[in-house]
């Protein structure tokens, strides 16, 4: 049974319109977000070094340490800085702590500075943590993540802990999301101290 | 502002009065069945006109010799003048329908008035739209159903249906009064919004209208079943009650028009609810159980509207769909809102 001509035209048009709608609804989801200009470490998706010339400038911040001493990031200019965002409540930070203590002791002798940013925490809890884990470097108290907010416009901080390596010119050279491993951190620091 | 308890009592008194007047109205409509005159001539002739209209919707271009082509004779006076009948005014039609109908209509109107006063005074007593919990909701929705049905009875001369629809209103209102009576009180913060008046008003009106449609649908199915039994020789024709009811075609049209009135109101209520949900909860649609069932009801009524345009689904099956729509609505009110925890848990029952 032949289908009349105009009908067939409608069918084609209808099919095209339908396909267009489906395309809008479904196909966009095939895209995925991702930034360029970085080199991932060991196939990881949360640890990477910025390529030369693409390192963003670290925003300056100032505040008080857990013991009340004033501190500002700008006062570290000229040194390589390891900035560690952590909290005493965070399991991954607690499991990372022994590694970080070892690396800090070893690298501080080479002139690398370590600074913690203690988030969503109280000073009493954080000081008990520092005492318990023999942490030898200071931390800025940041209970409401105002420091994180400044950085989040520059680097994609999503996990706690997150470790940033800042080079001598104040640019962010690398980011490690989640607990950092000894080899990861030392190899990044070797490259950053060598380059600048 | 504190709740005005005295006014709350006035509201309750008016509601009980409405309930009693409604009961008398139902008795009057029943009296019309028992003692009233048989089917009115005017109504019968209207049915005939309709039947003719249906049969002649398609006109043959080369049909039989046309009735008006051979008007022989001289002078304008010989041309038969026929003008379409101007419908009788509603009041005259009621007066012509006999004492029982007159009493039923008068009592229904008085009942609706008392009912409306009860709803309004409740609103004044609590300083807000008077549908913040299940008891208030049922009271208001039956009020809207009664007002709407009163209008249907006047507009479509459907007082033969009064005993059934007003009867159902009496039963539901009576159950609400005895089982889930809730004293006048203030609302939880979640309901303190002008969207309560907009969203719940629309939902209440639509529920009242759908209630009338469902009652018409049930009557349709009863008449349809009786007609088929008569056709099959299983029942004797000439049942007095059935003969007084409107024809199947009239019932079908009445129910359809009722749904056509209720569906946009329900749609508006759902949209208003979405706007309120966005204002209160941060999303306009979240598949909360009550939202989900409002959606199901909407889909089923949409299916009814489409079923009437689908071969094989007109008539009886379409009315099953329509009644199913009201069942999902009633299930939402009586089961989902009361027993399933969600963001709409405001019923305040039990």
């Amino acid at each position: 049974m032949p289908v009349p001509r105009p009908k067939r035209k409608y069918v084609v048009l209808a099919a095209a319109a339908c396909a267009a709608v489906l395309a809008v609804v479904l196909s966009v989801s095939a895209f995925s977000s991702g930034g360029g200009d970085v080199t991932y470490l060991d196939g990881s998706t949360t640890a990477f070094m910025y390529d030369t010339g693409h390192q963003p400038l670290a925003p300056d911040f100032s505040g008080a340490t857990l013991t009340g001493t004033p501190v500002a990031l700008s006062s570290y200019r000229g040194k390589v800085v390891v900035l560690n965002f952590w909290g005493s409540w965070c399991v991954a930070c607690r499991s990372e702590a022994p590694t970080l203590s070892v690396v800090a002791e070893q690298e501080q002798r080479k002139g690398v500075s370590f600074l913690g940013v203690d988030i969503q925490d109280t000073n009493a809890n954080a000081l008990a943590f520092d005492k318990n884990h023999d942490v030898i470097y200071p931390s800025v108290s940041d209970p409401s993540e105002l420091v994180v907010l400044k950085f989040s416009s520059v680097v994609p901080i999503a996990a706690t802990p997150t470790t940033l390596v800042i080079d001598r010119t104040g640019h962010i050279a690398a980011m490690i999301g989640g607990a950092a491993s000894y080899s990861e951190l030392t190899s990044v620091l070797a490259k950053v101290t060598e380059a600048s | 502002m504190p709740v005005n308890l005295a006014l709350g009592h006035v509201s309750t008194d008016f509601l009980i009065a409405a309930l009693m007047i409604y009961s008398l109205a139902v008795l009057a409509f029943a009296g019309d069945f028992a003692f009233g005159r048989p089917k009115r001539g005017a109504e019968a002739s209207r049915t005939q006109v309709r039947a003719r209209a249906g049969a002649l919707a398609t006109v043959g271009a080369s049909g039989s010799p046309s009735a008006d082509s051979g008007t022989a004779g001289g002078g304008d006076a010989s041309v038969p003048t026929s003008m379409p009948p101007v419908p009788l005014s509603p009041l005259r039609a009621i007066m012509a329908a006999g004492p029982w109908v007159r009493a039923g209509m008068a009592l229904s109107s008085a009942g609706v008035l008392a009912h409306a006063i009860a709803v309004v005074t409740r609103g004044l007593a609590v300083h807000r739209a008077p549908w913040g919990n299940m008891y208030e909701f049922i009271t208001a929705l039956t009020c809207f159903a009664a007002i709407f049905f009163l209008w249907v009875m006047v507009r479509y001369r459907a007082w033969a249906l009064g005993v059934f629809v007003m009867g159902a209103v009496v039963v539901i209102l009576g159950l609400a009064e005895t089982l889930i009576y809730t004293a006048a009180g203030t609302l939880v913060p979640a309901l303190q919004s002008y969207w309560l008046s907009i969203h719940v008003t629309a939902m209440t009106v639509a529920t009242g209208v759908f209630f009338v449609a469902a009652a018409l649908g049930v009557i349709y199915l009863v008449v349809d079943r009786y007609n088929r039994r008569v056709a099959a020789g299983k029942a004797q024709g000439g049942n007095g009650i059935i003969a007084r009811l409107p024809s199947l075609e009239q019932l079908d049209r009445l129910a359809y028009r009722t749904v056509v009135f209720g569906f946009p109101v329900w749609t508006f209520g759902v949209i208003a609810g979405a706007i309120w949900a966005d204002e209160a909860w941060g999303r306009y649609w979240g598949w909360d159980p009550v939202e989900t069932w409002a959606f199901i009801t909407w889909v089923v009524y949409a299916a009814f509207l489409h079923a009437r345009a689908t071969a094989g689904w007109r008539g009886r099956r379409a009315h099953y769909v329509q009644i199913l729509g009201f069942v999902t609505l009633a299930f939402n009110i009586m089961v989902v809102q009361v027993f399933i925890t969600g963001m709409h848990s405001y019923a305040g029952v039990g």
């Binding site: 994180v148 | 889909v299 689908t310």
Partner: protein, 536 residues
């Protein structure tokens, strides 16, 4: 036979050919498409859509009630995995549910697109010729007028034109007019269906580019709109860090008022969250009072007050007086409304070993006859806590992320046999030199939902479009009327025959409209009639 009724709107497709052995791939595709776009299949899909939604309201859903899903797994260990496999805990995101609505929308498109062309076509073509026998139409009128046929027809055209009818005039020799009105009905119908399609696209837009997040905030604390600071984030597929507006909000104070007497005793009457906020670091600080029905709008995002509770403040010190813990810890209340709240305190860095407490907070305490703590009012008039103390390894130095509302009991031992009740300011000295815990006081907390949905406005516009389309299609009726004028048999004046019919008359009333049109037409003819003819 000519069908005079305005074009039917549905169900007019020719019969779908029955598949047979000669069917090729194209035939089968065409057959499937025509099946899909038939009203019968659309009806079945509508029923499936309604039926498919039911489990989504009966079973707990992951998106809205994750705890309920976990509970269901516990109580139905064999059934739950099976249901999960069928997508029953995420019905509205399940592939089979998507299949139903996508097929339904495909069917809708297949139905609406041809009808759009048909409407455009019918707006260009004129109504059909007037029937020879107008008296057979559902509604008709006949009367004589002293006007000659020519002018009588002109008067008719003037009257119908004045009512906005589209007219077709007869050629030479015949005297008739056919007129049609109500094209907006079909336009409304199409608008309604297209708007539904628009709503689906808007929802997809919100799902791809929007986000929703939750944050619990103790009074006095601040949070920032960053992925690490928010408690739970449900981002759309295409959301990136830069989509989060860089605002921060401080909860200055939270207050809840309750009904103090009468049958509604303890029912909340008002919640107010006083906040101060900045839209970006360094921007000026503004203040707002967030209430349940009054969210705060910042920079394309909205912040809603969705919950509240108490956060008792505890101080833990070692046996030597060294502070080890000092924090307001949010406790979570059940659904009963009395704000008897539960929570835990974790002190992983306590000496000589880690300490954990599981506790109950009651805002207004009363001791029941059997000695247990009861809450009699939701406001904090007489706050008490009851604590059970544990010592050992809290399991926080390695392993998976822990909930802040539960203790990992694997490495813990209970320190005292009985729970210990503290009122504000009291200290419990733990046995065996494990230190002490002080119930310092309490703070209130409020929880907020932060949402950003770019599909919101398009969805609203489409919703309004759907409603407008619905009203048009229900209120407007498509109807045709016909006028035929013939010379009167007597030779002077003419006979006017007027008829009409409506295709669909959803809200009724064509009968009355026709009667009034007929009366108006007759009056127009009488007014124009030459006066001297009347005495004839």
């Amino acid at each position: 036979m000519t069908d005079l009724r305005p074009a039917p709107e549905v169900d007019d497709q020719p019969a779908i050919p029955v598949p047979d052995a000669t069917f090729g791939v194209c035939d089968w595709l065409r057959w499937a498409w025509r099946q899909l776009t038939s009203m019968r299949i659309a009806l079945i899909l509508l029923f499936l859509l309604a039926l498919g939604s039911v489990p989504g309201s009966m079973l707990p859903q992951e998106g809205t009630n994750a705890a309920g899903v976990a509970q269901y797994y516990k109580s139905h260990p064999t059934l739950a995995p099976l249901l999960n496999h069928l997508g029953m805990f995420n019905v509205f995101g399940a592939p089979w549910f998507a299949a139903i609505y996508l097929l339904l929308f495909a069917s809708l498109v297949g139905c609406v697109v041809p009808r759009t062309f048909k409407l455009a076509g019918s707006a260009r073509t004129l109504p059909p010729r007037a029937p020879r026998n107008i008296g057979r139409l559902p509604h008709s009128a006949t009367y004589a007028t002293s006007l000659p046929p020519g002018p009588a027809l002109e008067v008719s055209a003037g009257m119908l034109g004045g009512h906005g009818f589209r007219m077709r005039h007869s050629g030479d020799g015949e005297r008739w007019i056919s007129a049609e009105k109500g094209y907006l009905r079909e336009a409304g119908n199409l608008l309604f269906h297209l708007s539904l399609l628009g709503i689906l696209v808007s929802i997809a837009l919100g799902g791809l580019f929007g986000y929703k997040a939750d944050k619990l905030l103790v009074a006095g604390a601040t949070f920032t709109d960053t992925q690490s600071d928010l408690d739970e984030i449900y981002p759309g597929r295409l959301v990136t860090d830069s989509d989060f507006a860089p605002f921060s909000i401080k909860l200055d104070s939270f207050s809840a008022s309750y009904v103090q007497s009468g049958p509604q005793l303890g029912q909340p009457s008002a919640f107010n969250a006083d906040v101060s906020y900045t839209t970006s670091p360094g921007a000026p600080v503004k203040t707002d009072d967030i209430q349940v029905n009054s969210p705060l709008s910042i920079d394309g995002a909205k912040v809603y007050l969705i919950g509240h509770g108490y956060a008792p403040i505890f101080k833990v010190t070692s046996a030597s007086g060294q502070p080890e813990y000092n924090q307001a810890q949010p406790f979570i209340a059940g659904t009963s409304g009395d704000f008897l709240s539960q929570g835990v305190v974790k002190v992983p860095d306590a000496t000589p070993e880690g300490l954990g407490f599981s506790g109950v907070f009651v805002p207004t305490a009363a001791v029941s006859p059997d000695g247990t703590l009861e809450s009699v009012f939701p406001a904090a008039a007489n706050p008490r806590v009851s604590l059970i103390a544990y010592g050992g390894n809290l399991g926080m130095n390695s392993g998976p992320t822990q909930s802040v509302y539960e203790l990992d009991m694997a490495g813990l031992k209970q320190l005292a046999a009985q729970p210990h009740v503290l009122s504000q300011g009291q200290t419990w000295k733990l046995p065996d030199g494990k230190g002490s815990i002080t119930f310092v006081g309490y703070q209130q907390w409020a929880s907020f939902a932060i949402t950003h949905d770019p599909g919101q406005l398009p969805a609203l516009i489409c919703g309004m479009g759907a409603l407008g389309g619905l009203l048009l299609s229900f209120l407007v009726r498509r109807r045709r009327v016909f006028v035929r004028v013939a010379a009167a048999p007597s030779g002077s004046g003419s006979v006017v025959r007027f008829g009409g019919l409506a295709r669909t008359d959803a809200s009724g009333g064509f009968e009355a409209e026709f009667a009034s049109l007929a009366a108006e037409l007759r009056a127009a003819h009488e007014q124009q009639a030459p006066q001297q003819e009347t005495g004839d």
